[in-house]
Symmetry: C2
Subunit: 667 residues, 2 copies
């Protein structure tokens, strides 16, 4: 890579001032936003993007580009300003002028899918640095598969005090240090200011020591000294450990009255102060005006990446066609033809043998077919491998310095796991999954939400999905979790009732490339209740599993997962007293809600009494059963005791389902 700035006529500070004033003026025009951080980090970002980062504005998604994550997402104008200056076509000056306006690509926080330069959506603090760790891991895992000549890029992350105070940062700093992710560089905006004022109001942490404790390479520099920053970046690249560079900066740098104050963090500077800042920084240009020499210098910096991309493409052309095709198929997330064959056989076998098996175990049996068929799969567990049953015989661990494996020991770090999986998915190439107890999806919820917002294929394996967990008690028994996950937009919550539905749910999760999925799986054994069908019935969200014997229908019993067997038993009990019940298995609300009205009416039974049963909060079920129907479920937290006793204690039994039906029918 040639250092083009060395011969450029425009100095770093002037180039950085272009970034500063785009931020200042866009925030002022929007009358909303965060100017302080872009003003403080403009010098660092200028060094990074004119001399180090390998990105090509003319081919934003080129696979071997460096990844840049603005973890401190409130400083979004830094990213948009850079995007415009470097020459990304989708970020023109009108976009900057429409910062934070409805419909603009330049949203308040950087959003994945809006501007090409945003590799991830950031804003909720700590998420970005975790994404960056996931991306850096994906880079190494991909290099281990396709070679360092094909995959060789850095992940650069700008993080603020907020990111480092959030607990999730510790989880991923620890993970990155352990895994020796040497091509990850975090530039910490060490401005010592948070929203409430000086960071010393809330923390006395020695961040350098903290990162060292997690086996990082650490350096501290004056963030307004370009050569010092450049030297630190060189050293960071050379070190085999992940690197932290503490960049001592002044928030709102250049503002005569407000620099160094939290007042620059989240509000426009105001016309008078902006004028004074123009004066102070010798930037006489009108808002949104970048002088031609400055823009030219920036665009020249942008072409560095174009050259790198062309060289890489030439190298790829020289590769054997099959290797090249394999790489590009992988990057595109293409699932190999026929990958579902093993699962299909598994379903047939289960239909034949009718095993009694926990759906977490069935999930592992599915993975035994999926993992060898899909090279993209990388999975793991947050230290519950043999409870979540997330590992298969063929999997080997991803280890520090050795990334050819496909099993990831996430550690006891659910939140980090979720956000690192987002990073892996965003990087491209891999389909990540992660296991924990369903109840602990609460720990990773903010990351799941980001995956949903960003339409990422990330799969959560949530086992021990009800009071069926038993003795571990209420702290470990999910109650409200199905409802709270279903309430989140763009997440598929899949709760299969037997091994055949489990295979179907895995197929759905793997085919759904625009949303995260959560598999809710039982600890306890469940009977196989499904016949084999060529069609994936779970993909309809719900279907009639069992019609009453001689047609007609007095009641529809709707159940999910481990309670489908209860509905089937209740159906028999009711038949014995002359009541005709259909049993509907409903593994996925979200998919069912997408079905045509006719199908939904046919399944639920129009005008017929509906009773739902699920060993979870009843919250939300009125959507299907209405005010006339009933729900057999949980209305409080669980308790510690053997699972079967708990079902009795909380009155979630076939008999209580049948009783509720009879009571309602008598009304």
């Amino acid at each position: 890579m040639t250092d083009t700035t060395a011969t450029a006529p425009v100095d770093v500070r002037t180039m950085a001032n272009a970034v500063r004033f785009l931020a200042i003026d866009a925030v002022q025009k929007a009358n909303s936003g965060h100017p302080g951080m872009p003003m403080g980090m403009a010098d660092v970002a200028t060094v990074l993007f004119t001399r180090f980062a390998k990105v090509d504005p003319t081919s934003p998604r080129w696979p071997d580009r460096d990844r840049f994550v603005l973890s401190a997402g409130h400083g979004s104008m830094l990213l948009y300003g850079l995007s415009y200056l470097l020459g990304y076509a989708d970020t023109d000056i009108e976009q900057l002028q429409n910062f934070r306006q409805l419909g603009a690509k330049t949203a308040g926080h950087p959003e994945y899918g809006h501007v090409d330069f945003a590799e991830t959506t950031t804003g909720p603090l700590g998420q970005g640095i975790a994404n960056a760790v996931g991306m850096a891991l994906a880079e190494r895992m991909m290099a281990a598969r396709f070679g360092d000549d094909v995959v060789d890029h850095y992940t650069w992350c700008i993080a603020g005090d907020g990111c480092l105070m959030e607990g999730i940062s510790q989880e991923v700093i620890s993970f990155a240090g352990h895994q020796k992710l040497g091509k990850l560089v975090v530039l910490w905006d060490d401005n010592r200011i948070c929203i409430d004022g000086d960071t010393s109001k809330a923390t006395s942490d020695d961040q350098m020591k903290r990162f060292e404790a997690s086996q990082w390479h650490v350096q501290a520099v004056d963030g307004h000294d370009p050569e010092a920053v450049a030297a630190a970046l060189e050293k960071a690249k050379a070190d085999p450990r992940p690197s932290l560079i503490a960049c001592r900066t002044v928030i709102g740098f250049g503002s005569p009255s407000l620099a160094g104050s939290e007042k620059t963090h989240g509000a426009p500077l105001g016309e008078a102060e902006i004028a004074a800042t123009r004066e102070a920084l010798n930037w006489p240009h009108a808002p949104f005006e970048v002088p031609e020499d400055v823009l030219t210098a920036w665009r020249a910096a942008g072409t560095r990446g174009t050259e790198a991309r062309r060289a890489w493409e030439a190298k790829m052309q020289a590769e054997p066609a099959d290797k090249r095709d394999a790489f590009f198929d992988f990057v595109a997330g293409k699932l190999p033809l026929g990958w579902e064959r093993g699962l299909d056989d598994y379903k047939k076998k289960c239909a034949e043998e009718q095993p009694k098996v926990a759906t977490r175990k069935a999930s592992q049996q599915c993975l035994e077919h999926i993992v060898p068929a899909l090279p993209q799969i990388v999975g793991g567990s947050a230290d519950l491998t043999h409870s979540n049953l997330t590992i298969t015989k063929q999997m080997s661990a991803v280890e520090p310095g050795h990334y050819a494996g496909n099993y990831i020991h996430w550690g006891i770090r659910e939140h980090g796991m979720g956000a690192m999986m987002n990073g892996i998915a965003l990087h491209g190439g891999f389909i990540p999954y992660g296991g924990t107890f369903l109840v602990f999806t609460d720990y990773l919820r903010p990351a799941l939400r980001m995956g949903a917002i960003m339409n990422q294929r990330v799969i959560y394996v949530g086992t021990h999905d009800s009071i069926g967990l038993g003795e571990d008690g209420p702290t470990h028994q999910p109650v409200e979790h199905l409802a709270s996950l279903r309430a989140m937009p763009n997440v598929l919550v899949l709760r299969p009732c037997d091994p055949i539905e489990t295979a179907e749910c895995w197929q759905i999760a793997l085919h759904t490339d625009d949303a995260p999925s959560v598999l809710a799986l039982s600890r306890q054994n469940l009977p196989t209740v499904r016949q084999y069908t060529a069609e994936n019935l779970s993909a309809r969200g719900a279907y009639v599993l069992s019609e009453p014997e001689d047609g007609g229908r007095d009641v529809t019993l709707i159940a999910t997962g481990s309670e489908v067997q209860l509905a089937l038993t209740a159906q028999v009990m009711l038949a014995n007293v002359g009541v005709k019940a259909a049993v509907v298995s409903m593994p996925c609300w979200e998919l069912f809600d997408q079905q045509p009205t006719d199908y939904r009416n046919q399944v639920l039974g129009k005008g017929v009494l509906r009773v739902a049963v699920e060993a979870a909060s009843t919250f939300g079920w009125e959507k299907y059963v209405g005010l006339e129907g009933a729900v057999v479920g949980m209305r409080q937290f669980g308790a510690s005791g053997p699972a079967e006793e708990l079902y009795e204690f909380f009155d979630i039994t076939a008999k209580s389902v049948a009783d509720v039906v009879l009571t309602r029918l008598k009304r």
Copy 2:
């Protein structure tokens, strides 16, 4: 405190073996549980409770007792064993024999309110250490108010690798170090084993260095050398910083084949291995049998605390009666007579002046009345003080070494904030509140759940409660949060519509001493729509805010918070076309659901079309509107743009409410 073990005839190892075998045998009998940790930490715990911890089994809730938190809650048999051995009356041998059985006090994980010795419910990793930090802060804050002669106790916490890997631990370690909580001692069970095997599979952290980076005093000892542990505890007490003692232990200590293996973590050892362990540790006694001399030695240790408590009581008797009464009233959480007077005046003033004000601002105005009236109040924000508006003119910061203040800078640590607030509430005396954006309640959800399970009065101030947040965009706009919070048992979700309801909601939250509350407050200004009433109408959960002008009712419009004004406008629009609409304000679902059926029918209108409007996920509203009704709300994530445009864009307007009503009525 006299060192009674010095003269005791039973050595520490033998006393520790009593703990070990109670754990081994109880887990075996339950055929479920975690023996490895109690076996590993028995020596440390024996030193702690025979020579250091100041607890009185005959008066378990004595205010100046030391607090003990078993953060590694899966090792619950350590706690139950100690409880029995020390002589707590509620933990008899039958309780140990019924470990993990339905209805027993000895639940799978220690549960607050079950056995007296459990100061908090633990199990979800990282929560306990955070509770401990909260307790240690409460101790200092209480000492600052009543004197170190009256309040002077330690907080001891046993934490495992899991607790230290969870991100929340970093948040609270950082907080405790910053606040110089010198009377907090964490005993880390450094056994280098997690569930998946050796911790080196997932982490390379230097924990000592990490704690040092957060300004802790750190020591490492052999956890099986009682004198070394005792010496470390002495040093920890003497140091003004919070202390970490890394206790190098062997998980499953004493088991000839399984010691040091993750196999002892979460499963019974099995009869054969138990017999071998009895042999190895020279413990020939039958299951649940503790030889008299050993039990006597333990009970003698228990009396240490009884003596301390008596001495403290004598000291309190010598205090002036008014100081004594003030202290005990405070500890009991008694709200002073007449504390609501200021709020009542505020409501009258608002009814008269009809201000247009954001409910977050109204909340601050309420706090201006509440804080001076309730000395128990301590509050703060997760670094969003001037957005959440959680501070008042009279409040001063709690600062390192100076704890007389009542405003806590929680830092950018939502999860830690929630769990520390649980600890403060559990400690007794204080009513904590904490602010963040409502969307970031996702970050603290696991702590909120613990507060709900433990029936703790902890108040969350969740501002910017909808797309009304505006430009910050979808990552900052709550959509599913109201639903997901309402789905959680034992949480009051309060969404007031104007300043008068805001005052009512604060009153509800403060009176509710057995559940956490979440206040959902608007960023944007809202008109005052309520009249003054002596009765707290919000306490009914919902009520008819506005009847149609000339009686009768064609439709009930149900709204919460910022959308109540839309319902009122829709009511007028509908009246103009001859449709009679009643408007129901429903600030709290949970309270409404507790009302008598008659009241609920009267409010909602039996058999009448019902339409709900809320700028949040529609999820769950069918409970009130049924299958025939409609919900105007969000069905996707939000977007970045000015708030008013977003309401139009997502079609949450008075006109769309009126249109939906007209469409439904025409059906």
